[in-house]
Amino acid sequence: MPEIMNPPSSSRIKVRPATEREGRKDYISIRDYGFWYGQKKALDAISLDIPERQVVAFIGPSGCGKSTLLRNLNRMNDLVDDVRHEGDITISGRSIYDAGLEVISLRRRVGMVFQKSNPFPKSVFENVVYALRVVGVRDRAVLEEACETSLRKAALWDEVKDRLDDSALGLSGGQMQRLCIARAIANRPEILLMDEPCSALDPIATGKIEELIHELKDQFTIVIVTHSMQQAARVSDRTAFFYLGKQIEYDTTEKIFMNPSQAQTEAYISGRFG
């Protein structure tokens, strides 16, 4: 894939036309959302709707708040001390900060793949079925079945099927990342958050993951953070561009890459800054 080596430019990026699906247009709805780490405001007045079963890419220069926003969607930022938010995020119309909503059930619904792969120091099998064990599945057959389907979906099955009982830490970096994806989808979430899932992967593995995203799209709503313009263009239906914690532009991927309305967006995707 020689294009990857080249600086991104809107003229060379192939954009896949957005798939239109039935379902809520505002499946995930972020309204005037602001977020503080202590005194530092990391997100400012973010408002965007993510339609059901579509892929949305978050792009923007490093430190602009992509991961922060992503982590807010499943409230992983609760773990950070001294944080504060304003505005609201709803999923299927229900606020994620709803008092009656357990954060655990939110996280079961909103799965996440981290920027840095983080397999548990357990066997491959135990990693994949972790979420099932957590909800109390004991039936070995169910676990094995789930393990295999998830690993197949994550395009890892053929590589690890003989070493399911070996430590996950013996896998390569790319395999670990795919294992983390398998682990996340074994839980059968509705939404999958992926924070630069391919940053540590070679082009082949990247291709596999992108394929995976295509397939998963039928079942999941996917939010992906990426630094690769090509990837955003290849996999996403819609793209949001952030800069310094602000949402600069959010539209269909086609529009963003072909005809961005903001000069900053244009400059960023053509590689003139960032």
């Binding site: 001390d81 059930s105 120091p121 979420a131 430590s167």
Partner: protein
């Protein structure tokens, strides 16, 4: 960067820019060596320590070294002998009463003395070699006492010359007049001396005795009153051997068929006590030889087949329920090479020489071990005597030879069994593990079983860990995973300060403050501690049913601010309720007044029959737990905090609760560190000394009873080493304890390390 870009080549840098400075290299090399020296030094130091311990302990397990020193030719008619303190000038007594002194060095004659008896003859001779007393039984039934004395003189050059002297006392008529004495014995009781003669009257043995009471007269001259002769054991028909303990408290008569009859002196006469046949299960029941062991309460019997038995006086339960001191078999010794020809006891310890089958065996009665074996000299052995300090022994053989051996045996009482086995000590009612290293009397036999100490060590450690581990580990999990960092940063240093608290302070608090405080309110304490866990669970339940909005008022990690006052309140009420609980469940009748009292201590004593000490294992476990908690906590907390946050987020993002995350991700990942912490805590508890010394009664008991004390190996060393004489068995036994402690910690730590490595291999994080 585009590689095809043509850029001007940079100016060549001077070579020196890339050379490493010699200082850096030298520092590198020297530090490397220094570190290697340090590492090797540590290993050497540890092995050096072990080597030193083994060096100290080793002599315990070497037998006696016995070497013949030479044989002195004496007249063949010699039937008894005696020696001076150093064995330089032995004397022999011939059957006719002639006493001949010789120099041990060259055999030259020093003095010859013959009794002047008129028409009486000497018919029996008995010599007590260590006291210089010789007794002649005379042909008319009377007894003459001969006193041997050695006077040392020093000439001008300071050379020692020894001058023996013999004093013959007036014969005392004891036996039936006109009958010759066959044998004669002497023993010194508390009030009087006993002289016993044996005669043969109409084919029947006749034993007659007198008591000699010595009273200091006004002029300082001793006046001896002789009692009227009285017959002893008149009913016996056959007398093979008579054993008269040197204290004259009892009398043991061995008959022809092997029946042993024992008598006790009740102040006026010898009354029959007990009779038994030691070898009643053998084909030949006869007793071939027997001998009293030092201490006068044990007798070794040897049969004609060489079987050995040791009988001793110890408290035995009688049919009427009373416990009385009676004779009973305490050991079955090894079978000797042939029929017993003599048993001769050492002075000052429980060793004896058994002559049998042409062999001399030096054995220890208590442990049954063979300390040395050698060939017996030719000719029947007439008498064997040990030197008072157990450094040599002498034997007189019938072919006119006085054989001398030197003994090097510093630890006659030690053996593997003595330290680790069950031993039946004299006076005990059965074999047992006992540690008792000193007592008032000389005849006391020190007991060095390490088993009670090992038991105490295990008990103390288990109690301490039972208390400390749950608290330390749950605290570590809570602090590292749930507590807010602001508080964690306070708790950790405080715990570390606690870890550096000297244990003597803790021991002091335990022994002088806690034990007396807890003692009367034990049930209150149990209630207060016991309520905590259910109270905490209840609080957790309450929390879980609280509606979300209320719960959200409390920041995560601050829940303890609610919990602590609640728990404190619960504990307070439980403490106050203690006396009521005690009254409800632990009311017993007071033994003194007969009134019912609510007292757990009394209840415990009465219902379990076990002891209750106020300084007990519970207090020790509690306070030792305090010494252990900070260490375990600190190490476990460190390793728990070091679990990468990414793993925790990963687990939480998969919908695991915080507790599930802790249990299935954090703890397994940190397990090797937790195991290390536990092991170090274990090591500390095993070796902990001062707390045990101060907070228990330090009695070496073996009871699982939580309300009794204990003595641990380390406390034992601390308490007894200062009073143990260097090189003595006691001293070395303490080192053996240290050795055990060393090996124990070594083995446990090695196992723990292997376990830790395995776990680390399994749960290593990239």
């Amino acid at each position: 960067m585009d590689m095809s870009d043509k850029k001007p080549a940079p100016a060549p840098a001077p070579e020196s820019r890339f050379t490493v400075s010699p200082m850096t290299l030298a520092a590198d090399r020297w530090m490397g060596r220094l570190i290697r020296i340090g590492g090797v030094g540590v290993v050497l130091a540890v092995f050096g320590m072990l080597a030193f311990l083994i060096y100290q302990v080793f002599p315990l397990f070497t037998g006696a070294k016995v070497a013949p020193v030479g044989a002195l030719s004496v007249p063949a008619a010699a039937v008894a002998f005696g020696e001076d303190e150093y064995g330089d000038f032995p004397f022999v007594v011939q059957s006719d009463g002639k006493v001949i002194f010789q120099r041990a060095k060259d055999g030259s004659k020093l003095l010859e003395w013959s009794p002047t008896l008129g028409d009486r003859r000497v018919t029996a001779v008995r010599s007590y070699p260590r006291s210089g007393l010789v007794f002649f039984g005379l042909s008319d039934g009377s007894v003459q006492e001969i006193r041997i004395a050695y006077r040392s003189t020093f000439d001008a050059a300071g050379k020692r010359a020894v001058e023996p002297s013999v004093t013959a006392l007036e014969p005392i008529a004891i036996g039936k007049p006109g009958l010759p004495c066959v044998d004669v014995w002497n023993a010194k009781g508390a009030q009087s001396r006993l002289l016993l003669v044996r005669q043969e009257s109409a084919g029947k043995p006749l034993l007659t005795a007198v008591r000699l009471t010595e009273r200091k007269g006004l002029g300082g001259k001793a006046k001896v009153t002789v009692s009227a002769p009285f017959v002893v054991a008149a009913e016996v028909n056959s007398v093979e051997q008579v054993l008269l303990p040197s204290t004259a408290e009892s009398l043991i008569i061995v008959g022809k068929s092997g029946e042993v009859r024992t008598y006790a002196d009740d102040g006026t006469a010898f009354t029959f006590l007990q009779s038994f046949v030691p070898f009643k299960d053998s084909k030949d029941t006869a007793v071939a030889s027997s001998g009293l062991i030092f201490g006068n309460v044990s007798v070794v019997f040897v049969s004609r087949a060489g079987e050995q038995q040791v009988w001793s006086m110890y408290p035995q339960l009688q049919p009427d329920g009373k416990s009385l001191r009676r004779w009973g078999k305490i050991h079955d010794g090894e079978v000797l090479a042939g029929a017993g020809e003599g048993v001769y006891a050492a002075e000052g310890n429980k060793c004896y020489i058994a002559v049998a089958g042409g062999k001399l065996q030096l054995r220890n009665m208590t442990t049954g071990t063979l300390r040395w074996e050698g060939d017996a000299p030719a000719g029947t052995i007439r008498q064997v005597a040990f030197a008072g300090n157990y450094d040599r022994f002498t034997a007189l053989s019938a072919d006119g030879k006085l054989h001398r051996w030197s003994i090097v045996d510093h630890h006659p009482e030690s053996s593997w069994d003595a330290f680790f086995g069950k031993i039946w000590y004299e006076g005990a009612s059965g074999p047992d593990y006992t540690w008792q290293s000193s007592a008032g009397s000389d005849e006391f036999e020190a007991k060095y079983s390490l088993i009670p100490l090992l038991y105490g060590t295990a008990k103390g450690t288990i109690f301490a860990l039972l208390f400390a581990l749950p608290i330390a580990l749950t605290a570590a999990i809570y602090v590292s995973q749930f507590l807010r960092p602001e508080y964690r940063n306070v708790v950790k240093p405080v715990m570390e300060i606690m870890a550096s608290l000297p244990s003597v302070v803790l021991g002091f608090l335990a022994g002088l403050w806690l034990a007396p405080l807890v003692d009367p309110r034990l049930i209150s304490l149990f209630c207060a501690v016991g309520i905590l866990a259910p109270a905490a669970l209840f609080a957790g339940f309450l929390w879980s049913v609280l509606p979300q909005p209320v719960r959200r008022q409390v920041k995560p990690g601050m829940e303890f601010l609610w919990l602590l006052p609640f728990l404190a309140l619960c504990a307070y009420f439980a403490w106050q309720a203690g006396p009521a609980v005690e009254a409800a469940f632990f009311t017993v009748k007071d033994t003194a007044s007969g009134l019912p009292i609510a007292d757990f201590r009394e209840w415990w004593r009465q219902t379990t029959g076990e002891t209750y000490d106020s300084r007990n294992s519970l207090v020790v476990g509690f306070v030792m737990g305090f010494a252990v908690i900070p260490i375990v906590f600190t190490i476990a907390e460190d390793s728990l905090s070091n679990v990468p946050n990414s793993l925790i987020s990963g687990s939480l993002a998969l919908g695991a609760s915080r507790w599930q995350t802790v249990w299935s991700v954090v703890v397994p990942t940190a397990i090797s560190g937790i195991v290390s912490g536990v092991m170090i805590g274990f090591g500390r508890a095993i070796g902990e000394t001062m707390i045990v010394v101060m907070a228990t009664g330090n009695t070496a008991v073996m009871e699982a009873n939580p309300f009794s004390g204990m003595r641990t190996l380390s406390a034992n060393i601390a308490v007894e080493l200062p009073e143990a004489a260097a090189g003595h068995t006691h001293y070395r036994a303490l080192f053996l304890g240290a050795c055990c402690l060393f090996l124990l910690t070594f083995v446990i730590n090695t196992l723990a390390e292997i376990l830790r490595q395995r776990l680390r291999e399994r749960y290593k994080v990239v």
